[in-house]
């Protein structure tokens, strides 16, 4: 049926027609998407399940697209496996990445490409704030689209432990140190679980560095514009020592025998430890693996205030997607990036306990812990995780030297530890 357009109804009909055309074009565009979309994924466990769900939701929208994953099995740092796969000739469309230093390495070697055109064409400026765009940039070009972020200065605890000890979540350093005795008296073996086997013990140092030197000092250290022997770094280590001297963490060998998941078991299952400083993926583990109720059985408090002028700082991490230069399905890759910012995708993320930076995300879906973390990040001056900003061979030495510090937190050893990291840093940049 054909309707003539009268002059009065003209503009409205024209707009409607344009809208219809756009919708049809969009639909046609959606229909046009087909083929395989390959995502390089190194995340397993609950995160892996979340990715399965995200991919299934995308494929439901685009039935002609089949997503397959190139899975990298890794313990600890997955970058080695990713590099091997890419150098080995694996062709993928998208890479899940969490290391800014690695993004730069991928960009310099021509494996990933800028996505400024996609950014503009899809209007992602409306979906992501400028700070998120900046986070994914290298030399003024966007290479990474952040799909989730986390507060890495959040300390996790079992609510029952603090209730039993008769204490509130500590807000100041003094309250924090004093809580160790209260928790010990309540019958808990070790107040602070420090997972020192691989890398997670560095989390404490990184938040302490922010609270003693601020984001400027942390950024300068990451770029090696100040040496590791700088007084501000030493000050952070001295605070770490203060914590150990106050009886936070038990025996060093216990710390060095455990990774973060083992310590999480000690806190939330064995009731042997009380505090754990770790990223927001702990939320997914607590909910999905321990079956705990967010905000009731467990919660977080922000790293205690040191009163040194930098208490409004937090260390954060983020995960992003990068588009490869040789991917065989750039259209589907672009559509998937766009999908990751939609309400549907952000809802899946929220169900798994992850916050999305997208404006389409319904923050009310986030659990109380995640909302607390999101608020802390938005109210803080933030700095990306130091370990993820350091060159590969330096980060290894940095973590090993921090293990040495845990074994012997004396002032003399602190100087030796910092000198050793600085010696490595001198050749790493």
């Amino acid at each position: 049926m054909i309707h003539s357009i009268s002059s009065r109804q003209g503009p409205r009909s024209l707009i409607a027609a344009l809208g219809l055309t756009t919708a049809l074009t969009g639909a046609a565009f959606a229909q046009d998407l087909s083929g395989d979309l390959v995502i390089l994924n190194w995340q397993g466990g609950v995160d892996g399940e979340m990715w399965d769900e995200l991919e299934a939701a995308f494929m439901e929208q685009h039935p002609d697209v089949t997503i397959s994953e190139l899975e990298i099995i890794a313990q600890g740092d997955a970058r080695g496996g990713i590099r091997s796969a890419l150098l080995g000739g694996e062709v993928v469309d998208l890479i899940i990445n969490t290391w800014p230093a690695f993004r730069e390495e991928l960009a310099v070697s021509g494996i990933i490409r800028p996505m400024d055109e996609e950014w503009e064409a899809n209007g992602w400026d409306d979906m992501l704030g400028q700070s998120w765009k900046d986070l994914g940039m290298i030399d003024g070009e966007v290479y990474g689209l952040t799909y989730t972020y986390g507060d890495r200065s959040a300390i996790w605890y079992d609510t029952e432990h603090l209730e039993k000890a008769g204490i509130e979540p500590p807000e100041t350093w003094e309250e924090f140190l004093a809580s160790f005795d209260a928790l010990s008296e309540a019958g808990y073996a070790v107040p602070v679980g420090i997972p020192g086997k691989y890398w997670a013990h560095a989390e404490w140092f990184e938040s302490l560095l922010l609270r003693t030197g601020g984001v400027e000092a942390a950024a300068q250290l990451a770029a090696h514009e100040i040496p590791w022997t700088d007084p501000v770094v030493r000050e952070a280590m001295m605070k770490f020592k203060e914590m150990i001297d106050a009886g936070c963490c038990g025996d060093a060998s216990q710390m060095l025998a455990n990774d973060w998941d083992g310590v999480a078991d000690q806190v939330f299952q064995a009731d042997a430890m009380n505090y754990l400083l770790i990223g927001m993926w702990m939320n997914a583990r607590a909910k999905n693996e321990y079956g705990l109720t967010e905000g009731e059985d467990y919660s977080i408090f922000q790293f205690p205030a040191l009163g040194m002028g930098h208490d409004n700082t937090s260390t954060v991490d983020a995960k992003e997607l990068n588009i490869t230069t040789n991917g065989e399905n750039p259209e589907a890759a672009q559509a998937f990036l766009d999908f990751m910012l939609t309400e549907e995708a952000t809802t899946i993320l929220a169900e798994y306990g992850y916050a999305s930076p997208s404006t389409a995300a319904d923050t009310s879906l986030l659990g109380p812990v995640q909302q607390q973390a999101t608020a802390a990040v938005s109210e803080s001056e933030v700095q990306f995780v130091l370990g993820d900003l350091l060159p590969g061979d330096l980060v290894d030495e940095y973590r090993v030297q921090l293990q040495r510090f845990l074994q012997d937190p004396s002032e003399e050893n602190i100087d030796q530890v910092l000198a050793a990291i600085e010696a490595k840093a001198a050749s790493a940049y």
């Binding site: 080695g80 086997k197 060095l256 025998a257």
Partner: protein, 320 residues
């Protein structure tokens, strides 16, 4: 075929005369030669191709890579022997040499001694002990990764760890971080690696004992030799070829150990359990310094060759 055989026979008959007249050893020429049997190439070429692709090429590629400075995905930069110079100046690498020696020698010595002892005991044991022998040998077939996870369960630092809970029967509340303490981590790793390495020496030594002619053992028994004497003077000396092979194989296995270290300790704490194999992985795969890692690989290769030469030489001599 008959013609060739005749030719070899004639060659053998003439060889003494020819050697005398021309001073040339024709014995070598009397062996079958490939040009005499061109069809043999059809069988050899696939093997040569496979060997070239899977052994020779990677070997030369590793040697080539070891001469370059490669960081991450950045383009390689030729540095000659710079990686080797840097390697031996690196305290972390020097540390791996001593750790590798301790780990390799201890794992080999313990596993061979236990394997040999078990073989001796099994030789006297009745047939019904077959399941026991199978169980000991089965550990050799368990993947190192699976074995690693099993040992994590045994050595975990809390009271739920199997070892801690067993000790806890006698000392309630006992917990010790076997893998987190520098003084015990390497020992714990050696125990774990030895567990899976005992089966092969046991099998080889047992096979050597089984190869001893029954008449020899019966004669000794008839002469009034006691079981201990039979073991000491007959079975042990005659099982030595098995022991030698076991030492050689276990030595090479321990020298190249990686999986169990990766699973159990990740080279820690504070690099206390980092062997050359793990160092090589860390530099190549975690830090992606492929040239530097390749240099460590070449050093490991040389160590393996040095250990292999006596065994290969002995085998070759035996063949002659």
């Amino acid at each position: 075929m008959g013609q060739s055989a005749a030719k070899y026979a004639a060659g053998a008959a003439l060889s003494g005369r020819d050697r005398g007249e021309r001073g040339i050893d024709l014995a070598a020429h009397s062996r079958p030669r490939l040009r005499d049997a061109p069809a043999a190439w059809l069988l050899i070429i696939p093997v040569l191709l496979l060997f070239s692709v899977s052994v020779v090429y990677p070997l030369f590629e590793t040697l080539r890579l070891s001469l370059f400075d490669i960081r991450g995905l950045a383009p390689p930069e030729y540095v000659g022997f710079g990686n080797y110079v840097q390697l031996f100046a690196d305290p972390a690498f020097r540390n791996t040499i001593s750790t590798t020696l301790i780990f390799t020698l201890a794992t080999t010595a313990i596993s061979v001694v236990i394997g040999w002892t078990l073989a001796m005991l099994c030789s006297f044991a009745p047939r019904q002990t077959l399941p026991f022998r199978l169980m000991v040998f089965a550990a050799f077939g368990v993947s190192e990764t699976v074995s690693g996870f099993m040992w994590i369960g045994i050595l975990r630092p809390d009271e739920a760890g199997l070892l801690n809970s067993v000790i806890g029967i006698f000392s309630p509340g006992f917990s010790y971080a076997w893998l987190g303490d520098e003084t015990t981590a390497l020992g714990a790793l050696i125990v774990a690696a030895t567990w899976s390495a005992v089966g092969l020496p046991m099998l080889l030594c047992f096979a050597s004992v089984q190869a001893i002619p029954r008449s020899v053992l019966e004669a000794a028994y008839m002469d009034g030799a006691k079981p201990v004497s039979i073991m000491r003077h007959i079975m042990m000396p005659l099982s030595l070829p098995g022991v030698r092979v076991a030492i050689f194989i276990n030595l090479l296995g321990a020298l190249r150990a990686f999986d169990i270290i990766y699973i159990l300790t990740g080279g820690g704490p504070v690099r206390a359990t980092e062997t050359i194999g793990y160092f090589m992985y860390r530099e190549s795969m975690t830090q992606f310094k492929l040239g530097y890692g390749a240099a460590a690989t070449v050093v490991l290769l040389i160590a393996v060759l040095v250990i292999s030469i006596p065994a290969i030489a002995q085998r070759t001599a035996g063949a002659k």
